[in-house]
């Protein structure tokens, strides 16, 4: 085994990893190392060739590869070393990382570690879609890889299950490449993608969206021959008599993303079952001191710019930890209340301003977002529109946190 020692090890060289590594470096960590399992830096954005990235960070709409290149150039400029084709097999609580690469098996000892493994797609197996198991069932991301990076045609007539952003983007992509997208079905009564993607990916191309619908059966022995769509009731059970069989050769799934926390779990880090990511404090430190998490491995984001920003914070914290800077106690607990699915971070100090990230349970209009400490309302924000597809961020000032023991976030009708 090849042994190495670094100050900050970053697991993952995608949007979160690069931003975290840069931030760690800029905040004084001398010896930063990025470990990436792919053959390039950039992660999933290499295949996200559509535009819409970078508005928050750079003020321009960039494609995924352009957005990433800015970070890659910066990593090169700061001479941050990175390992490619290198898979982290294990992260231990004493901050040793086992990495497999063609150069050999490495044991990297790091003062602090930033987990940036991103997320994976939910599959047909996880949503328990009945029917046969033919070729032609793809997750939207795998399809995106085949089409955008390899130039394969994955099918001629497709149905897309799930209206997540990747599904919507792929509906347009398939159409542009000459395949026919017959329908997008969404089990929820509202789209789980951003409204702008509904407009520019579906409406522009006249692709029908069926809300409160799901695929109840996949047909075809060798390759997909058809799928059955059915309407669902409020408990997501298919309603008998609403089935319609659609002939197609492809079923694309865009049914949610799951943070890839296998390494995290194995390390013994506490996981929030709601986000499926680590429990973190305002420094984005996990339950193991010196191990930090950010980006989609912490919670699935809607916009990559927010991943980069969150990762900056984790990078800074990891650099400070590696330099032995004393940490403020984090005693204020955050809790999602009525109408809120989750709030991050889980613990706060009252020592600095802090940005909370959260998602609502269901779409709503004209609501009040209330942050309280249980007795006292700390902050109220009026929202004309909230949507589970969109992450909400709220900054709390240091003085607003003074004297709080907890922060409860809830949604209330404005009227």
């Amino acid at each position: 085994m090849i042994r190495k020692t670094v100050d900050v090890a970053v697991v993952g060289g995608g949007p979160a990893g690069l931003s975290a590594a840069l931030s760690a470096k800029k905040n004084g960590a001398a010896n930063v190392l990025i470990i990436e399992r792919g053959e390039n830096l950039g992660g999933i954005l290499n295949q996200c060739i559509h535009e819409g990235f970078g508005l928050e960070s750079f003020g321009v709409a960039l494609s995924g590869p352009e957005y990433m290149q800015r970070f890659i150039d910066d990593v090169e400029k700061h001479r941050i070393p990175y390992m490619l084709d290198s898979m982290v097999l294990e992260v231990s609580a004493d901050k040793k990382i086992i990495v497999s690469s063609k150069e050999g098996l490495f044991e990297i000892t790091s003062k602090s570690i930033i987990l940036c493994m991103g997320c994976r797609e939910r599959t047909r197996g996880q949503i328990l879609t009945p029917g046969t198991r033919p070729a032609g069932v793809y997750t939207a991301g795998a399809a995106q890889n085949f089409i955008n990076l390899k130039g394969y045609r994955i099918g001629e007539k497709a149905v897309i299950l799930g209206s997540g952003d990747i599904g919507l983007i792929m509906a347009r992509r398939l159409t542009l490449e000459g395949s026919k997208v017959l329908a997008v079905a969404e089990i929820l009564p509202y789209s789980s993608g951003l409204p702008r993607n509904m407009a520019q990916c579906l409406d522009d191309y006249g692709i029908p969206l069926y809300l409160s619908h799901t695929v109840t059966e996949i047909h075809g022995k060798k390759r997909v021959e058809a799928v059955t769509l059915a309407q669902v009731d409020e408990r997501f059970k298919p309603i008998a008599g609403t089935e319609k069989k659609i002939e197609c050769d492809t079923l694309l799934l865009s049914v949610g993303l799951v943070p890839e926390n296998e390494l995290t779990r194995k390390a013994g880090i506490l996981i929030d079952e709601q986000t499926a990511g680590a429990v973190v404090d305002e420094d984005l430190q996990t339950s193991i001191p010196g191990i930090f998490a950010c980006g989609n491995v912490l919670h699935v984001h809607d916009v990559v710019d927010y991943v980069s920003l969150e990762a900056e914070r984790a990078g800074r914290s990891a650099a400070e930890y590696a330099q032995g800077k004393e940490k403020k106690p984090q005693t204020i607990k955050t809790t999602p209340g009525e109408g809120i699915r989750y709030v991050l971070p889980h613990q706060l100090s009252a020592d600095s301003d802090v940005k909370l990230s959260m998602r609502v349970m269901a779409p709503a209009r004209n609501v009040k977002l209330i942050l309280s400490d249980g007795d006292r309302v700390i902050k109220t924000l009026m929202k004309t529109r909230v949507n589970p597809a969109e992450m909400i961020q709220v900054t709390l000032k240091k003085n607003e946190l003074a004297g709080c023991k907890k922060i409860i976030v809830m949604l209330q009708n404005a009227k």
Binding site: I49, L62, S63, Q69, G151, L194, P195, R196, E390
Partner: protein, 121 residues
């Protein structure tokens, strides 16, 4: 006054914008939260435009395809023809972000440019 609703596609906020109009003229715009939103909506009302992203085969590169985009938006109704023209385009490695694959596509004055660096194999 007749009105139309738009979802702004400029940024993830996806503002819902209301347009009141008479004939070909906009009389009132509401719902946007920034200047870009207003610009987008005015354009969308008269002559909608879109950016187009796709990919082009690259010869002699470390990867087989390079992603490309329109350097500026093009009229929405030209998207299909633009895709047809792009399907014949090829690039040669090395490719740098911004290198043109096609200049002045369909006479629009807009170029198709690379959005990825592709080194030589």
């Amino acid at each position: 006054m007749p009105n139309k609703k738009y979802v702004c596609i400029i940024c993830p906020n996806s503002c819902e914008i209301d347009v009141e109009y008479s004939g070909k003229n906009i009389t009132k715009i509401s719902g946007q939260t920034c200047k870009k939103g207003e610009e987008y909506t005015r354009k969308e009302f008269t002559s909608p435009e879109r950016g187009l992203t796709t990919s082009v085969p690259v010869h002699g590169g470390t990867i087989p395809l390079v992603s490309v985009k329109t350097s500026k938006t093009i009229p929405k109704e030209l998207i299909k023809d633009a895709m047809a023209e792009i399907s014949a385009a090829r690039m040669n490695a090395p490719v740098k972000i911004g290198d043109p694959a096609i200049k002045n596509i369909l006479g629009t004055g807009v170029d198709i440019v690379a959005t990825k660096n592709v080194p030589k194999k």
